[in-house]
Structure formats: structure tokens, C-alpha cells
Symmetry: C2
Subunit: 240 residues, 2 copies
């Protein structure tokens, strides 16, 4: 039995990959993944065989990778970390132990986006996806509400898409039931890619922000501040 | 004004550092950090000047790094990601714009520990530290309770220390108010270092687990399962 590496490549800039991720891709003969991620790494690994599938074909893509890994070392790549809204869990579910899966962690957007803004996740935080393709909206709403009650910092993935244009507005409304309108928020688009943008704004203003699929949103906790243009959530060393 | 790089080096194995982290340390003339992390990287960067401080001297360490960065490029290293219970937020607070701070994200223990176990954070999750050095225990308890009510997967940092030997037991008790005793949990110790250990157990059993400072704990959500010896939280692609 050969190996299936499930590799998180980080935000997209090849320098944000770990050495271990590069080694795993080097070891594999076949690289599988969604076309956008494959385009990011193909120039770095020109002599590989590629299995490329379009978006929304996750199950087929994982099944192909598992079949392939039965005979040849294979790497499935995801942007960010493959364990965070990536393919890792689906691969374990589909493989049911038929192939030896090794997950190589990567820098997920909560971390890379936070670094662009400053230190917004400096205390306890929650990570929530607004995509309701696989999760009932009621569950998402409940988690947003409880996260705000807990005064967690929050990183929001998938805040919008063409079909879900108003979801960030809906989420902001739920958070505002419990958190102040002046809560510091941050938005990062195209993290570490061409056209990277960072914005700091208030929760009240967030509802109107035109987020898209390439945006990650950060909600501060009640202590988050703006310091010299950065979004900073204190750990608690300094009081007063 | 020269630069202060705040660098997350990942779990400790040098291969788990990103290329960007290595480049930032290479660029710096002076490397600051807590002695344990410095010991991990000193062999890789032998020709640097080091500013090493002991644990619990966080404010002094950050002030030294900021002073130093006023005249020479300096890197402050943290294990994992410097923005997650690391030095990034304290540096922004103390520097108040006097030096140019660049945060280089790294693979935090929630991600590296998850990869050891399988895919425990495959859906929305919360990250909570049990350390009450800087956070009132009541706040920690409230966040644990609300995270369990939200059915978040949870990554717990700092589950125990010599002085806080029973904190994981206390946390488990709070989670059990809302979550089933059969909830799948995972524990990883010495992630990607010598003596790495992974265990999968139930929430009922977790209370008695002898966690220490080098342990990260994962609580599954209500759908988390064990598949071929791995802890897996489904994203939701497969129903039934």
C-alpha cells in the first residue's frame, strides 16, 4: 500500500508552504486537487502527473485520489490547512482505512489573514463557515450567536458567494444582538496573493462590506483595539 | 526604522516551518525568544545574536526585542503561530507603532495536533486556553460551556501545568453538562517532537487523562467518529 498525503499548502504564495508540505509533494508521483490550487503549485512541480477536478466535485476528486494512492504515492493538495474545511475528513470517510493517509498541516486563512491585520486572534477564538451548502443555516446562526455570547474572537470563512450575497449582513445582524456595534472587525481579501487587501472597520459597518469568496472576516472580542493601524486582541499582559 | 519580524515556527520540527519563516529569521540579525524555542532553532541559524529569556518574562522579552528592532532587523520567534497565545499582540501593544512589525504566520498546535489525530477540526471549531494566569477562570468556564452548547469542535491549549493539575478534569466536567460522555476526544503530546504520542478516548475518559504543558486536547462535535484509528469530524458531504 502506498501513501496518500493530504497537504495544506497555506494561503497560496509558495513561500508560505512548510518544508514538510513541499517534501510530501516531491515524494508523490500524482498530485490531485481543485483546479485553482493546482494552478498555484504546478509551476513548482512541473514533472508530476496531475488529477484536476472542478469545484463541487469533492467526492469524485477524493475517490480518484484514493484509487490512485492504492498503487502510487499521491498527494491531495488544499489551500490553507486540509483539515479546516478541506478534504482531510472526507478522505478519511471515503478511504475507511484502505490507504495510509498522512495529513500535512498548513497555515489556514484564520492564521494568515490574522497576520495581515495584526494580531486579531490573540485570545480564545472560534472559526465558523457561513456556507450552508453542507450545514443548515440554523446551525450556523446558533454558533454565531453563542460565539458572540462567549466573547470569542471569530474568524469567518466563506462569508459570501454569488448565491449567498447577503450572508455576511445576516451574520453581522446576529452578532449585533450580543456584541457592540463598535466591536473592531477586520477583513482580508486575496491573502498573500496578488491584490491582497486589508480593512479594519466596526461590526456596525461590516454588514455593508462587499465580501466575496476570497475574503476572510475577523470579529474582535470586547477588548480588541486598533493600535497603529493594526487589529490587536490583547492576551491580557497589560491591564489598565 | 528597521523591522521586527514576529515569526511562528510551527510545532518545533524545523521542517514544519514555512519558507517565509525561515527567510525572515535569515534576514534578522538578532533573534529573540523564550529559551525552549531558541534551543529548537539555534542549530539552524548558528551565526545570529540571540536574546534569550526565561518563561514568564514576556513583557521584558518583548520590550528588549522592540528596543533592538529600532536599530537592527530583529525576529521574535514563537512555537506554533505567534498570533495564537503568542507574543504578537503584546508586541503591538508595547510598540505602539514605534517599530515596523511584520507577523509571519505558522502552524499552530490546533492544526499540527489535528493532523496527528486525523481530521478532528473538520467543521466549525473553537480554540480555548485553560490557563488562568491572564484570564479569569469564570471566563474560561463560560466559553467552554457555550462552545459545547454550540456543538463546536474544540482545541484546548494549556490543559494543565504543575499548579493547574486538575484543570482538564474541571473543563471536562463543564463540557459534560451539555455534551455526551461518548463524545470522541483526542490528545496529542509533544507534537512533531521526540516522544510524540496520540490518544483517542471519550469525553468521559478525558477527565482522568494526565495532561501536561506539552499536551493539546481535542473535543469532537456530536458527529465526530473514529475511522480506522483516526479522529474524524465530517464536513457533511456524506449523509446516512
Amino acid at each position: 500500500m502506498s501513501k496518500l498525503y493530504v497537504v495544506g499548502i497555506g494561503p497560496g504564495n509558495p513561500d508560505s508552504m512548510t518544508f514538510r508540505a513541499k517534501q510530501a509533494i516531491d515524494t508523490a508521483e500524482v498530485i490531485a486537487g481543485y483546479s485553482t490550487y493546482i494552478d498555484l503549485i504546478r509551476p513548482l512541480f512541473p514533472n508530476k502527473e496531475y488529477l484536476v477536478t472542478a469545484m463541487r466535485q469533492e467526492t469524485a476528486r477524493c475517490q480518484m485520489a484514493i484509487e490512485c494512492a492504492k498503487t502510487r504515492p499521491t498527494a491531495m493538495v488544499s489551500s490553507g490547512d486540509a483539515g479546516v474545511y478541506g478534504m482531510a475528513s472526507l478522505l478519511f470517510e471515503l478511504a475507511e482505512g484502505q490507504v495510509d493517509i498522512e495529513v500535512i498541516p498548513g497555515v489556514t486563512a484564520a492564521l494568515s489573514g490574522a497576520a495581515c491585520l495584526g494580531a486579531p486572534l490573540g485570545h480564545d477564538f472560534a472559526v465558523i463557515s457561513l456556507s450552508d451548502l453542507l450545514t443548515p443555516w440554523e446551525t450556523i446562526e446558533k454558533r454565531l450567536r453563542l460565539a458572540a455570547q462567549a466573547d470569542f474572537c471569530i474568524a469567518i470563512y466563506n462569508p459570501a458567494s454569488h448565491k449567498r450575497a447577503d450572508y455576511l449582513r445576516r451574520a453581522s445582524g446576529i452578532l449585533l444582538e450580543c456584541a457592540s456595534g463598535d466591536t473592531i472587525c477586520g477583513v482580508v481579501r486575496n491573502i498573500e496573493r496578488d491584490g491582497e487587501e486589508c480593512h479594519i472597520l466596526t461590526l456596525k459597518e461590516l454588514a455593508d462590506f462587499p465580501a466575496d469568496m476570497f475574503t476572510t472576516v475577523f470579529i474582535g472580542n470586547s477588548k480588541t483595539r486598533v493600535i497603529a493601524g493594526h487589529m490587536v486582541t490583547p492576551r491580557g499582559y497589560i491591564h489598565g
